[in-house]
């Protein structure tokens, strides 16, 4: 049955692998689950609305009109930072195209040499020296790349993200290289806003109680009670989180590295990215260059749709079109890497005190019998070893 290829122009975001949702024709990029993000929006907008409705009229008259003005500015800044964190590309690394994946496979085979039949091949690790320290780069089986230093694969979004910090359900997106400073400014400004609203709630209640009495004040402005409740609980979590991230920034660490204990402990490497100077670290993270997105979401590409007809007319692509559909291994179906530790905001504040061990390693597939690589055949993949330490133990046993 011959087919006519119908080509239509699509934006590249429609063909991107991974579990992101896109809006506004690729301009907005978020995670799939957005429920908690809507809750965040509701809480912020709701509480501020109550503040503007109940407190501001009274305080503007009796104290100063600057109070609501500053509150409005702060509110807009918080919203801008939140939307920027949620809607921007966190620093997703595009997956390797088939040629690049094959090239890397060949390199791995060349490095590992011949593995005797029945033995597990050594893990896919590349050692690089960064500022005098040895850092291990892990191979990502989903994206078919060796992850750059500090990158990690988010299983919720199914993407490798550069300088991966954590996946935050409250903002509905990963936090990575490109949006970390917006995330930090969001938590910082939200802390300020919460403290601001909380303080002026108290001031307002005190001032009103002096005139009318406490119970009548609460009856006049019921919104205040709600606001105080929300602010009280928000204060502990958000201010704590801001403090935690300030600590991380001063050491030039990510949440992911902190939780995995990458740079702590006696036998571990010292953080090779830190400038050993708090000011320099803060400047690099907060005042560094604004990295552009390497994920071309709005670029146009041709989508070939086979339309079955009697006439046969193959479409000719004069320009090489990058195929961004899922790249699968030739012999083994596409498999996901096991979860890296991905804490939510609530956990990350506590996680600093305790080190969470990496998620259990899963045995994916037994290693296939190795055939001698010929120029026309791609060598079969082996089972992934995702943790460097376990891989070293396995290597020792194999030898």
């Amino acid at each position: 049955m011959s087919a006519v290829m119908m080509t239509r122009k699509v934006r590249k975001w429609e063909k991107l692998p991974g579990k992101n949702t896109f809006c506004c024709d690729g301009r907005v990029m978020m995670a799939r689950q957005k429920g908690v993000f809507y809750l965040t929006l509701f809480l912020i907008v709701g509480t501020c609305s109550l503040f503007f409705a109940f407190e501001c009229p009274y305080l503007a008259i009796h104290l100063s009109p600057a109070i609501p003005v500053f509150a409005i500015l702060l509110f807009f800044f918080v919203m801008a930072m939140l939307l920027r964190t949620s809607f921007s590309d966190p620093g997703v690394l595009p997956r390797a195209l088939p040629e690049e994946a094959t090239f890397i496979e060949m390199e791995i085979e060349a490095t590992n040499g011949n593995v005797p039949a029945g033995q597990r091949p050594p893990p896919r690790i590349r050692n690089v020296q960064i500022n005098g320290q040895i850092v291990k780069l892990k191979y990502c089986y989903t994206c078919k790349i060796f992850r750059p230093p500090r990158a990690s694969h988010c299983s919720i979004c199914d993407n490798c993200v550069d300088r991966f910090d954590h996946h935050c359900p409250w903002v509905g997106n990963c936090v990575g290289k490109r949006n970390y400073r917006y995330f930090y400014l969001f938590t910082l400004s939200l802390s300020l806003l919460t403290i601001y609203i909380f303080t002026f709630n108290i001031v307002h209640v005190v001032m009103r109680s002096v005139n009318s009495g406490f119970v009548k004040t609460l009856q006049d402005t019921p919104g205040t009670v709600l606001e105080v409740l929300v602010c009280f609980f928000t204060l502990w979590s958000v201010v704590g989180l801001t403090g935690f991230h300030t600590y991380l920034i001063s050491l030039n660490q990510t949440t992911n590295e902190d939780i995995k204990g990458s740079w702590s402990g006696k036998n571990r490497v010292q953080n090779p990215y830190s400038h050993k100077n708090i000011i320099n670290n803060c400047c690099e993270v907060l005042c560094g260059p604004a990295y552009p997105s390497v994920l071309d979401r709005r670029g146009l590409m041709r989508d070939d749709l086979p339309v079955p007809t009697s006439a046969a007319e193959p479409a000719t692509n004069s320009n090489p079109v990058p195929q961004t559909t899922k790249t699968t291994a030739p012999l083994i179906p596409n498999e996901h890497t096991p979860d890296d530790a991905k804490p939510s905001i609530a956990d990350s504040a506590n996680a600093h005190a305790e080190k969470i061990s990496p998620s259990p390693r899963e045995e994916k597939l037994p290693s296939l019998p190795k055939s001698s690589p010929t120029p026309t055949k791609v060598p079969p993949l082996a089972s992934p070893e995702t943790d460097a330490e376990a891989s070293f133990i396995a290597k020792d046993k194999a030898l």
Partner: protein, 158 residues
């Protein structure tokens, strides 16, 4: 023997892609964007070592300029923060300006140096800044295909 390709247009439309070589990132100085200047063996017969290394070194200089944390990046950062980053809607960031320069440089290098030798550089930004992809096309001028290429059936482009 004279090379078969004389311009970029011919190259892009040619189906005789032999292999692709990928220049990896150099992480010795941290996470800044830098590519290895080591000359890959697959290109041995196709281009002079100095020319290739010059190209990679120039690219590295461009990226270093883009990622420099200094006076200008502070100014840009503080100004942007003061406007709640709305200024990025109308202004191009310094990194984007440098990326445009790099794109122009790669185009020029392809036209002048690489296309006449049957090679084609791909801008790293199209590969996630992970690799510099060098497409090696069959040199029709020489007899048979080049011996150093590993031809895989999956590689040939439509």
């Amino acid at each position: 023997l004279p090379p078969q390709f004389h311009n970029l247009q011919e190259l892009r439309q040619s189906p005789s892609l032999a292999t692709k070589v990928f220049i990896q990132r150099d992480y010795s100085e941290g996470t800044v964007c830098r590519f290895q200047t080591k000359f890959p063996s697959e290109l041995g017969s196709r281009i002079e070592r100095m020319l290739f290394e010059d190209t990679v070194k120039t690219l590295n200089t461009y990226y270093a300029e883009a990622e420099k944390v200094g006076g200008q990046s502070y100014m840009e950062g503080c100004l942007a923060c003061a406007t709640a980053y709305f200024i990025f809607l109308c202004m191009e960031t310094r990194y984007e300006k440098v990326l445009k320069k790099i794109s122009g440089y790669i185009q020029e290098q392809n036209e002048k140096i690489y296309a006449p030798r049957g090679l084609l550089l791909t801008d790293p930004v199209e590969r996630g800044m992970r690799v510099i992809e060098v497409s090696v096309f069959e040199d029709r001028g020489s007899s048979g295909s080049s011996p150093s290429s590993n031809v895989s059936s999956g590689i040939s482009q439509r």
